[in-house]
Symmetry: C2
Subunit: 490 residues, 2 copies
């Protein structure tokens, strides 16, 4: 493909993407293809000779689009909606056109420098302490692929710091601390790194938030057993229910254990710190006071297209001390002189994409106020959902709504007559019914034994009408499931 062919194909791609967004609302949210659907539609090997690109684009539309779950759909309320803005798409387009594996400053100065600057923009947007700014030259921010990677990096650095201070430690004694509501990323980090993990139980009556007393008790117990807790992964806005650990209490306890790294995973909720009115309930002052590292994913609620997990550390040397392995062919004048950040020493791999462009495009186009409006709108729409739900006889909240996330379940009349197991059965049945529909997508979870349903708002295209429609479907299907369930019991 030469430049003019690219121009033609590029215009066509832009037009097709416009068509996609125009048609989005009329399309199903959930793809209804069966496993293996594509096998019969695509040859088993690459063509011997190249094909015309317009044919490839046609096939993308014909074969691929129908098999995609539409995370951009205004009625997508599953998992957490993912950022997908036109600004993000255009940044990815530019970034791909200058393909730069910017592992070193000198491998592509602009990639590093824009990351350095825009991560400070993001830190300021969220109200993080200047200690976390890159401009502090002590702490700093870096783009990771996902919150899983951010946690992996934190655990690796924490382990390195701990073992440097206590070289006699047996690896088998190291323990990662998390809670029973921490995202599976903590367990995955433990599995990947071959380390022990303790999930401290959180209580329903504490709204699934870990309190200082429980952390202290765990630390005392493990210390007696000779175990070495070396990192606490606390959560601000859990995946299951949006629960927020008591960051201040945990921080106070950890002050007595300065060897324990304090990582705060705010993968989903962290971007809400952009709005000053949520900073207290999301423990911003305590994050600023106590956190060793902090992470939030702009690619969830934060308008930036996947992948953009923002991670900050209070002391960048803790990352580079753990991750720097520099052979001659990666050494550069600027790196040797320490005049520039070499981001390869801040993450697990070597090559990295030019991703800060996305954040730059998004923050410039939306401005701080536009970003805040987006967050506030998501919360307002979730409030609408909660208001509607409060009128329902079939649906009940399982825990307090959190920002733009509601966790609820279906209940039969005179619910007190049934066991938890029975009502869980009803909810599994309800979720199965909902999973068959293609006009709305939601996900299930389990809160301390209670099977429940998550309704997560956050897509940039969701409006009031979609909330009302979605609620209507859920309420009707809920009532119908209860009817069926009651009939089956008589």
């Amino acid at each position: 493909m030469d430049v003019e062919q690219f121009r033609k194909a590029g215009y066509a791609a832009i037009d097709r993407i416009c068509d996609y967004f125009y048609s989005l609302e009329k399309l199903p949210v959930v793809s209804k293809v069966e496993p293996g659907y594509l096998k019969g539609l695509i040859p088993a090997q690459a063509p011997e000779e190249g094909e015309d690109f317009s044919k490839v684009q046609d096939d993308y539309e014909k074969l691929i689009l129908p098999g995609l779950t539409r995370w951009q759909h205004p009625s997508f309320f599953a998992y957490f909606p993912t950022g997908c803005t036109f600004e993000g798409i255009l940044a990815d387009l530019y970034s791909s056109s200058v393909a730069n594996p910017g592992f070193n400053w000198s491998a592509s100065p602009a990639c590093t420098e824009l990351e350095v600057i825009t991560m400070d923009w993001a830190a300021k947007l969220l109200g993080l302490s200047p200690e976390f700014y890159n401009s502090s030259e002590v702490g700093g921010g870096v783009v990771q692929t996902s919150a899983s990677d951010s946690v992996l990096v934190a655990v690796v650095a924490a382990r390195s710091r701990y073992l440097t201070a206590h070289p006699e430690t047996k690896i088998e004694d190291l323990v990662i601390y998390s809670t029973t509501q921490t995202h599976s990323l903590a367990k995955k980090a433990a599995v990947v790194l071959g380390l022990g993990i303790r999930s401290i139980a959180v209580k329903t009556e504490e709204k699934f938030s870990l309190r200082g007393g429980e952390l202290r008790a765990a630390l005392e117990e493990d210390t007696k057993l000779g175990k070495k807790p070396f990192i606490m992964i606390a959560t601000v806005g859990s995946t299951s229910s949006g629960a927020v650990d008591n960051i201040g209490e945990l921080g106070e306890v950890l002050k007595e254990h300065p060897d324990v790294w304090y990582h705060i995973d705010a993968a989903w909720a962290g971007v809400a710190l952009a709005c000053p009115e949520y900073r207290e309930s999301l423990y911003l002052p305590e994050i600023n006071e106590y956190a060793t590292s902090f992470c939030t994913n702009f690619h969830k609620w934060g308008l930036v297209n996947f992948d953009f997990s923002a991670m900050w550390v209070r002391d960048r040397k803790l990352l580079t001390a753990a991750l720097d392995v520099t052979p001659l062919y990666l050494r550069t004048k600027q790196g040797d002189e320490g005049t520039a950040i070499d981001y390869r020493n801040w993450h697990l791999g070597l090559g990295r994409k030019f991703r800060s462009l996305k954040l730059w495009f998004v923050l410039r186009s939306y401005g701080v106020s536009g970003f805040q409006n987006h967050i506030r709108k998501g919360i307002e729409m979730n409030n609408l959902f909660v208001n509607l739900l409060s009128e329902s006889k079939t649906l009940e909240l399982v825990t307090e709504p959190s920002l733009a996330l509601t966790v609820f379940r279906v209940v039969p009349p005179s619910a007190e007559k049934y066991t938890l197991e029975e009502i869980n059965g009803l909810n599994s049945q309800f979720f199965k019914t909902m999973s068959v529909r293609d006009d709305i997508m939601i996900t299930q979870t389990n809160l301390n034994g209670v099977i429940c349903i998550r309704f997560a708002v956050g897509s940039a295209r969701t409006e009031e009408v979609h909330i009302r429609q979605g609620y209507g479907v859920i309420e009707r299907e809920g009532a119908a499931t209860v009817d069926t369930w009651l009939r089956a019991r008589t």
Copy 2:
């Protein structure tokens, strides 16, 4: 930005990218900005109100482009050139427009299914054994971010397999095997995972290739010491010099050590297996016979834009057994039934981009023959460079050229009169001189104490004229450096 504003901005972006490629050859390869250049040009915080997008695009051109190293430039011969095709750019554009963190099959069926199919296309393109195909339902292929991630995944799975077989093993006794010419990714994997590593010395007279005898000796020695080697990372096409370990001999030795995982890192050279005439020298039959896992980066020489590291395993269960942690909110009907691959259990994180689209677009547009032509052209152009160099009195090969990579150094007349240290000094001086130029980019390395220069061909835009120009510059600067160096000695 609404859809029509996106259309306008999208056309403009395509036009600007066309301009970039038209002007590429006239632009410097190396950005000459100084560390911190961008700080004065961009405000220290995001704007309060959103700005017009055309202004953002203007700033991209004015502020960012000049700070990018031009990896796409035909005179970029540093590191290994990175893939950047129009097809890859368009695939990234489409992929970003449907932002899908396809961790599960059901999170977006097409993302998984196209990866399953195109990784088989790639396996067939390279001549891998059907045991590695996804269609085997035993082995399979997966897209990782970089070769570093592929190695991390292999080491984690190898450790898990070893510890399952030998649960009494002390973590401290585990050893990763590599060579002194293995890419720093092996050392980084050891650092990240907190495991021991042994770099077996390779010899200049063996062209930096690890032989079976040396591996056997190391295994015997370590076994006597109670160490537990559990993975051998062999290289096909090392970064420093394109060296190829003796895959067959190593495989034979490892047959006696079935607990040792055999990972083959062909990050750069692996794509050359697309050409049957290189399969023997790159040990394809032996890879097919012995490898537990195999990796090559299509984002280097393979025409696919970063990030696309292709990894295959002979037994997918070894990955999922090591990496599967599935909480309720990630459980799906298809995953539970085992009817679909959930790729999250094949890599370190959870979310993943829709990257198979890039490979699909590239292989359909180029066809197998076009892909082969690209590889052959790179090798031919490197041969031209080697032919020119063979006439030079100032330049000499340090080791045999490998495919599209030449490693050479500058030598003074009557080189035998000088120590290695002196000639190394001359070459460091030469590299410094070259680093000041902005019309060509090359990198340095060290081969068993010999400082040398790498010349890596592979950009899709490099033609004979660029090789001749590049050679001319190198030869002239080499001769001038020798003159200066000789004068300084008298």
